[in-house]
Symmetry: C2
DNA sequence: TCACTGGGGTATAACGATAAACCTCAGCCG
DNA sequence: CGGCTGAGGTTTATCGTTATACCCCAGTGA
């Protein structure tokens, strides 16, 4: 495997000149540059990124740490990020944080973060303390939750507003018994707590009594858990006329559960999700959902990371992404009269 | 940011002793070991993986290169691989190969592969020559296609058999006009070509005339392309009674297209997909599909990679993963009589 | 007493790249 | 003709680890 000094020797120049050519530094004559590039090509030389990073601290790689690889929301996020970075000559590597109890901390270890020039960290499911352990000097942008160490740049999804929009929409469409699937109160400002809070607020504002029993907690935000829970719930309580699902993936399970119970969407029961996955356009009927503005999130996350890489001491930015409702077929098309 | 020599100084030992402690080498006394570990903890020292890799060639990181982050099939693969590797103390980073024209080659560049101890490469959509450029000495396992440079370890999905099973199943269930969505002949043994071949073979074997016009090519294997194409096709040709979709994702689009056309599944039209995504359990009705045995693939890919990392000269292995049919609701439950 | 062994450690030289300082010479000015 | 300048390079000193060789000393057997 050829090194820079192999190239230098073959081209009859010093190693430093090869490095300068490869990095586009100015102090090299035109024909020397050409000769070096020829030799590089001929030997099939490629730079050793570990060595470069050791000496210069740059690799051109950005890391994205997500809770799970197999959740479509993160796939979408990763794809967008990858495109955004590619246009500036960098690339993205994605790692998973919650594969195992031990793996969680390992993914956040400095050793692993260090291999990147900067890291975007989706903190869903991670604790305040886990994050707090990250060395402040390392460029990190946090994505998702509210209550995180303020010293980091952060981009929050407006969970409360999103959940409120969803719930208000269901109320507008005549729903009166709205179950919050995957909801709960985790004691801190987590996604679960905040979306549940938004669901409560919307009902309070409309003067609809909030029924704590209408929160359907879920141990995992998977389609199958949601399906089973919803099917069981509908069998017990036929008065339910709507579900607000904490994520679109959960909403998929909810739809299946409703179908299992022999009910129709949106005539018997309405459903709203959260995430605006591409998938939601292809359910039958299409899934009404909250769009968390992933494009906006990615754009601002990259900008924040670039700022921090350029200046590690700049003041941390806390941004909130806009959310909006996407109406499709799982909620009713027109305003329904308030229940009798 | 503390280095090994900071630790050594604070513990009153040599750098080498710190290294030996951290790597579990035997030549260290019990109390020295303890003292070093204490100091490591106190200073919050973490190893620099770039330096380690530069010197020793090991990082404990395995790479997975996939065509796209946002395809659920690869999310599933990545999640499985991650678990499999975590149990042996390594971890997975996922990169994307086809973000852009330039990005494609960059992802396969030695520079990037090099940052991993080994790489698993999903070659769907990559050309023979792209792969052929990879330095043979680097540990790589290829996933997916048939026609790849034989010097690499490879795990093939049995595309022909899978497509044959799908098509035979549709024929068994009474289908006579089966459209191959996303099919075509790319001139080499690609996923598209092979699955189309399986679809042809099944029909030939059953004495059903193969209609080339029944191949519906797709520029991108996305739900929306499939939906539009299928809707248009059904409007033109009402005699179609089944679709074999090249992937489950395409199948989702097909189902939506059929719905758009006002037809019912499986009564009017039957559908079979390929990939056995988790999603397929949650469509209404559930998606009949081909299971490519991802668990088997991952298990064998890791084993092959480990073999190659241990011995770079071992003979390349070519394995074929078993496939089987998963029957759900988009195909009819019982054997139908042959068409009149 | 002496060579020998092995446990516990240290000193030194890389791994491959780059930052920073330095060198060399042609051209030009005063 | 001496000194200055700037283009085009080169030399040197690292970055943080680890492989390798080596050292020291207590205990052992002859």
């Amino acid at each position: 495997m050829p090194t820079m000094s192999d190239v230098a020797r073959a081209a009859g120049v010093s190693v430093m000149t090869v490095s300068n050519v490869l990095n586009g530094k100015p102090r090299v004559g035109a024909e020397t540059r050409l000769r070096v590039l020829e030799v590089v090509d001929e030997l099939g030389y490629e730079i050793n990124l570990s060595a470069r990073r050791l000496r210069s601290g740059r690799t051109g790689a950005i890391g994205l740490v997500v809770p799970r690889f197999d959740h479509p929301y993160f796939g979408d996020l990763a794809a967008r990020l990858s495109s955004a970075l590619a246009s500036t000559g960098r690339h993205l590597a994605v790692e998973q944080s919650d594969a195992s109890k031990e793996g969680e901390l390992a993914a956040l270890s400095l050793a692993r973060l260090q291999t990147y020039d900067g890291v975007i960290l989706s903190v869903v499911g991670l604790g305040y303390d886990d994050i707090d352990r990250i060395r402040p000097s390392f460029p990190v942008v946090l994505l998702g939750e509210q209550h995180m160490p303020p010293r980091f740049d952060q981009i929050h999804i407006d969970n409360i507003t999103g959940a409120r929009l969803a719930t208000e929409h269901l109320l507008d469409r005549g729903a009166r018994r709205i179950v919050m699937v995957g909801g709960g109160d985790e004691g801190h400002a987590s996604m679960v707590t905040l979306r549940t809070r938004g669901w409560e607020l919307a009902q309070q504002e409309r003067g609809v009594p909030v029924d704590d029993a209408a929160v359907l907690p879920l141990d995992r935000f998977e389609m199958s858990s949601a399906r089973i829970a919803v099917r069981a719930l509908l069998a017990r309580d036929p008065s339910i006329d709507a579900f607000f699902a904490i994520t679109d993936q959960v909403a998929m399970g909810v739809l299946a559960g409703i179908h299992d119970a022999g009910l129709r969407v949106p005539d018997d029961v309405q459903v709203v999700g959260f995430d605006n996955l591409a998938l939601g356009e292809f359910t039958m009927p299409g899934l009404t959902t909250i769009d968390p503005s992933n494009a906006w999130i990615v754009e601002n996350a990259v900008a924040a990371l670039d700022r921090r890489i350029a200046d590690r001491d700049s003041a941390p930015q806390h941004l909130v992404s806009p959310v909006h409702l996407v109406e499709r077929g799982t909620s009713r098309a027109s305003r329904a009269a308030p229940s009798p």
